[in-house]
Symmetry: C3
């Protein structure tokens, strides 16, 4: 049977088969080629995307909206769904799903609570894409991260990926680790003890045969990494402000860090960055974080087109 995502919700990376992931990667690459050659896609002419953002995330919202527009589709935008009248009057997310299926062909939801995307999908007969729900999943970020690694390094099999910074609270690294693990990478987890990757995730990876090294020292980690995936260390996670200052500095990528890195190592970051990657590093050819953000467009184009059967 041919792989298809037509009519499916994209709620988490676990529900995607390897074939489906490859289909998304190939479709994204195809769209990128068309755009680079100056071509004009009109696959989704006459279709409408609704973006329902219950917490602000300009980057994710714009990335989805530009993806829809570049396919010839149109957008209904709710940048501040939390203060909408329906939400204030006590409408359930399920009922919002019933509403939105009458207005749009596909919906993206961003919500602070885990499970919200699934609730919207339960209400809507049209496909729903999870744009990040609380501490839960952010599957499109995981997919664009995978796309970036494939594009920058040509493969994933056998690569060493160092996840660094706050591995405890970052849903990006949780979703991402689950997906990359299936693609044959080895991990180094580089975090202060207080922000270590949850044991359940680390143990789960090891049990399924994934190589994992715990190494809180960034300099020695980058020496053997093909990919450094940085995340923000947030001040509010710390009780002791001094500890924050100390750790913040030790997890700052500078030109010094780059000098110690394995040849060809790329640096990724879900953005926005604050101080964890110095601006001087932008000039390094392996600094892939802005290219990574731009990769969100073809990957989200692929998802929108595939779930609507317009690829």
């Amino acid at each position: 049977m041919t792989t298809t995502l037509y009519g499916k919700d994209i709620l988490d990376v676990q529900s995607l088969t390897d074939d489906e992931v490859h289909l998304i990667m190939e479709t994204a690459a195809r769209y990128e080629r068309v755009m680079k050659s100056g071509g004009r896609l009109l696959n989704m002419d006459g279709k409408t995307l609704a973006t329902l953002f219950y917490e602000p995330s300009t980057r994710t919202r714009l990335s989805f909206e530009t993806a829809m527009l570049r396919l010839g589709g149109t957008v209904l935008s709710v940048a501040d769904a939390k203060t909408s009248s329906s939400s204030k009057k006590g409408e359930t997310i399920y009922d919002t799903g019933k509403m939105i299926e009458g207005y749009a062909d596909v919906a993206v939801i961003r919500h602070p609570e885990t499970g919200s995307a699934a609730e919207l999908a339960a209400g809507s007969s049209k496909p729903v894409i999870n744009g990040g729900d609380g501490a839960g999943q952010h599957p499109t970020q995981a997919l664009l991260d995978l796309y970036t690694i494939i594009k920058e390094k040509g493969k994933t099999e056998g690569l060493t990926v160092c996840l660094a910074g706050d591995l405890k609270n970052g849903r990006t690294v949780h979703s991402g680790a689950a997906l990359l693990a299936r693609m044959g990478v080895k991990f180094i987890f580089t975090a202060p003890e207080a922000l270590a990757m949850p044991a359940s995730i680390t143990e789960g990876l090891k049990k399924s045969g994934v190589e994992v090294e715990i190494n809180p020292d960034l300099d020695s980690a980058v020496a053997k990494s093909d990919v450094l995936y940085m995340t923000r260390i947030q001040k509010e996670r710390f009780e002791d402000p001094e500890e924050y200052e100390r750790l913040k500095t030790s997890y700052e990528v500078t030109n010094e860090t780059v000098k110690k890195a394995k040849k060809g190592m790329i640096i990724m970051h879900p953005l926005p960055r604050v101080t964890e990657i110095a601006v001087e590093v932008d000039a390094y050819e392996g600094a892939a974080y802005f290219r990574q953000a731009a990769n969100g467009v073809p990957v989200r184009m692929a998802l929108l087109a595939l779930v609507c059967g317009c690829e």
Copy 2:
């Protein structure tokens, strides 16, 4: 003379002749047929709708915006007009009308104050549609309600329509009753005494020959109704919280209510609902409220196209 709405403002239902109402109904039905058959409308290619929302109403805003997009038009969206710089600096709605006529071909306004839509229309030489102004009118809701009844029941003449819940404060039921009365329905008004339909409206209907029954008991009302139109009972309208709890329960539609209903009765609601219709009722084939919300799209398409002369 042929009926036309070209260049007209849609401020209230009273100003619409029966011929104009029928034209709107027929145009909406035609657009719905085209969309159902997979056709693509481009009537409003090159035209722009401005949605000016001085109070949030995501459902109404998205419904108008998707209507415009499905006609091939484009949208300028002001989801939070109240905090706009012009509004803060003291610009009158009249001047906003003078501005918006330079930017858009048609405008929709939602505003907490009665008369705002008329003021915008006075300023703008382009057509203005009232998307709800305070305790005043909400004509497009009344029109989509009428469209829903015609679509679900095949006619309006001779139907018994039970308006239930808060009939005192709901502009939806006030606009709606005025329009339905002209279409030959009989009414049952089912509300707690504190939230009864204003006497001026009830008397006005009776004087113009409309049959009206006042019956605060929901169960006996549904037994003879073809249409049950529910509205929300809002906690803040009550001084005594116990009375609120008691009434809230007696005006909750459940499967038990449906069992007592006249055969074929449909249930409508302007949405969002909170507790006044139990989720279990969604499975009832006469549960028309989500279909009603979706009907907002073809009706608003018809209005936009007709006032711009693009039908």
Copy 3:
């Protein structure tokens, strides 16, 4: 060499050569002719504009967005960029530029701080247009003002332009004066002493050979002006509320003012107006302020198309 704006940022009027200004004027006039004749422009089909507004300015935002839509392009709208997650998390405007170049073909920024537009332009490889940055520049307002004068009076050379109201704080009049000075106008500066044009600007103009008259009396100023450019006098600029009331009245344009004016004088205003132009004046044929606002559309169409090479 042919004049071109392809790939350029529009940050201030000083950086535009006279040839570039004329190209913008001619392109705007051409687009206006096409629109007036009912033609449909699709120059920017497939291109996307991002509007990043860190302070509300509905008029400027809608004017740019409708300009883009009328060229067949699409829009990504951030009406409230200040509360966006990236901005809150401490992302620099430079990094926002790096992000936006991946999503859009051209960006407009409005920001309360001088220099923000230049910072965005430094980050983005795609063209950036300054939609007003703090006390700094508002070049597109200056250009649409110039366009209005040319359209209304047929020329600028030799005209007497009276800038009136708050000349101290208005970036509109600062940008505008710089541009008009190059186009051969004479100035009358009509302001209360507390709100006089900064001496640096007045002296600069005089040094470059521009004729400038300081005349705080509005009635005698209009008697010899071809253009009266009014601005708002803001209450919060005054320590003494009585002084505010006195000045507010003396700088109110009424039908009496119009009677004293030079024949054919036009009245302009960046809008929104509050009390500085009485509503009765709207009927005067020289009342050009609403036409001026509408002129923002063809001028911004010209700018968007020119910097993207789609003219």
